[in-house]
Amino acid sequence: MEKSYIVKQISIFSENRPGRLAAIAGALRDAGINIFAFSIAEADGFGVVRALVDRPEDAHRTLTDLGFRVSFTDVIGVKMRDEPGGLSDIASILGDAGINIEYAYAYSGKDAAVLILRVDQAEDAVRQILGHGGELLKASLFR
């Protein structure tokens, strides 16, 4: 049950130099893959591009074939009220339950704002959020 809310994010290794994001985004465009949300984590000379896309398996294959180093990471997408306190509600639920957030990024869409979370215990997090009346993106949105 909790599993149906665990979403596959693709993570792509990228060197920190001009044109790398364009190369990744261009490849996804050419494959007709839509990006819902993404973030870039940067370190010393390299970075990791994390993206939530409509067809993760296809995106993985497309990028791997082009020579990119790609992996799947389990994340959850929590819908937030797009108004003051929206983020605070979600963060408090997880904080109170002792669930640590490794990283997060968010987008504000047509229906709602969505917070994408990488947490150490994803299934616990799903239970807590649903238990407190929260709403999550279904994995079935992503093929």
């Binding site: 060197e15 370190a43 390299f46 990791v48 020579g67 790609v70």
Partner: protein, 433 residues
């Protein structure tokens, strides 16, 4: 395995060294008297044959380089007349002019004797069928292995290179037990055999291979031995020495260099200083009994070390370790000699990164800075920056401890590093000296 020449192969070390000294002494007198090139070199170095009073005094003699052979093209350094020669071999001139090696009857005899000892130390002998898949012709590999195998009483199948399907059919039909070829050609044969529905391990009698003429690694040995079900022995030599001459024995603990035929030294490639046993440096060889083309302190350009102690097989002669690379590739970083092959070797033992790399040397202020670019392996790629940073630190630490110089590591995208061999792309030196 039983020695081919028990008296020589098991000669006590002090006796061997006395023999070497006698051979060096007479070689030097002979060259000083009869060979213009060597006399001129010795005079330039201000050394006279009388100055050679111990074996260690060999270090007083001038070095000889590949360029000397090229400059002496085709036969100006020879110490024999053409009518005394029974054969020529010619090495390919990939960089500049080719070099010609001449052989007297005794040179061919010693070459065959050397390989007979080597092959029998691996158990090759009467009853074996040896497929020689080195090229025959101007290259020394084919004929060298051929004569050595015949000498120990094996039946030789001189297939040379190419026509791999036919080679595999013959290997099966004639019940070949041993092969001499390059390691990459043997891997290729294994693949072609599988496509033909033949497993070299299960469907042939092949039990040993003498592999050389190109660099290979312990990892590659493991793969060949497991996959093909054979023992894979390293074979070493260059055309200047005669050709392939020396191999490991069944202990696989270094290549035995027959001391009555060759005197080996390891020298610092930068200073020419003789290095102690066990230290890695440039292999330098003096051929003690070669007639047509004498070689004294010849700087081969291969990097290796002399193994310490006596081989468990009981043969007393010195052994050299696996060839670790070419001296031409050496870099000096903060005064330390660094070889790309050391980087390659260290990376092979770190599963988190691929085997490809690029070295970039730069100067920051007064200090050299060495950067090694590596690709994160598929298994090790993590979404977490902290884990990637740990990989970077691990590689930096490992490289530092094997090179003795601190190294910055940069993780790069897969497929972006040069794939082919060669210094030109693997090393970028941006220092303006």
């Amino acid at each position: 395995m039983a020695p081919w020449n028990p008296r020589t192969e098991g000669m006590p070390l002090d006796e061997l060294r006395r023999l070497q000294f006698k051979l060096v002494k007479s070689l030097v007198y002979r060259l000083y008297s009869f060979n213009d090139f060597y006399r001129r070199r010795m005079k330039e170095q201000q050394v006279h044959p009388d100055d050679i009073r111990t074996l260690e005094d060999v270090a007083k003699l001038p070095f000889m380089y590949k360029s000397d052979l090229r400059d002496g093209y085709p036969d100006r350094i020879f110490s024999a007349e053409q009518n005394e020669l029974v054969r020529y071999h010619v090495s390919s001139g990939t960089t500049g002019k080719p070099t010609v090696v001449g052989y007297t009857e005794r040179d061919i005899e010693n070459w065959s004797e050397s390989l007979a000892r080597a092959f029998s130390s691996c158990g090759l002998g009467r009853g074996d069928v040896m497929q020689v898949s080195y090229g025959y012709g101007l290259f020394t590999g084919g004929l060298g292995a051929h004569y050595g195998a015949e000498r120990v009483g094996a039946t030789v199948l001189p297939t040379s290179v190419g026509n791999t399907e036919r080679q595999i059919e013959l290997m099966q039909d004639l019940r070949v037990t041993a092969i001499a070829c390059t390691p990459s050609y043997l891997l290729h044969m294994g693949e072609v055999a599988e496509k033909m529905g033949v497993s070299i391990k299960n469907d042939t009698d092949l039990r040993m291979g003498f592999l050389g003429a190109e660099p290979w690694s312990e990892q590659m040995r493991g793969r060949i031995e497991d996959w093909l079900g054979i023992r894979a022995y390293d074979i070493y030599g260059t055309s200047e020495l005669s050709g392939p001459m020396f191999t490991e024995c069944t202990e696989q603990q270094g290549i035995h260099i027959w001391g009555d035929l060759a005197l080996v030294e390891i020298v610092d490639p930068a200073t020419g200083e003789v290095l102690p046993t066990g230290e890695q440096g440039e292999l330098t060889v003096t051929m003690l009994q070669k007639e047509a083309l004498p070689m004294v302190r010849y700087r081969i350009g291969d990097l290796t070390a002399i193994e310490e102690g006596v081989c468990p097989c009981g043969r007393t002669h010195p052994r050299i370790g696996r060839i670790r690379g070419r001296v031409d590739d050496m870099l000096i970083v903060r005064g330390i000699n660094v070889f790309p092959s050391q980087v390659e070797h260290a990376l092979l033992e770190i599963p988190e990164v691929g085997r490809h790399f690029q070295i970039v040397v730069d100067r920051k202020g007064a200090l050299d800075n060495m950067l090694v670019r590596v690709e994160v392996s598929e298994e090790a790629f993590s979404d977490k920056i902290t884990e990637l940073m740990v990989i970077k630190k691990v590689v930096e630490h490992r490289l530092r401890s094997s090179l003795n110089v601190s190294v910055d590591v940069e993780l790069v995208e897969p497929g972006t590093l040069p794939r082919f061999e060669g210094k030109s792309k693997k090393v970028v030196d941006r220092r303006s000296l």
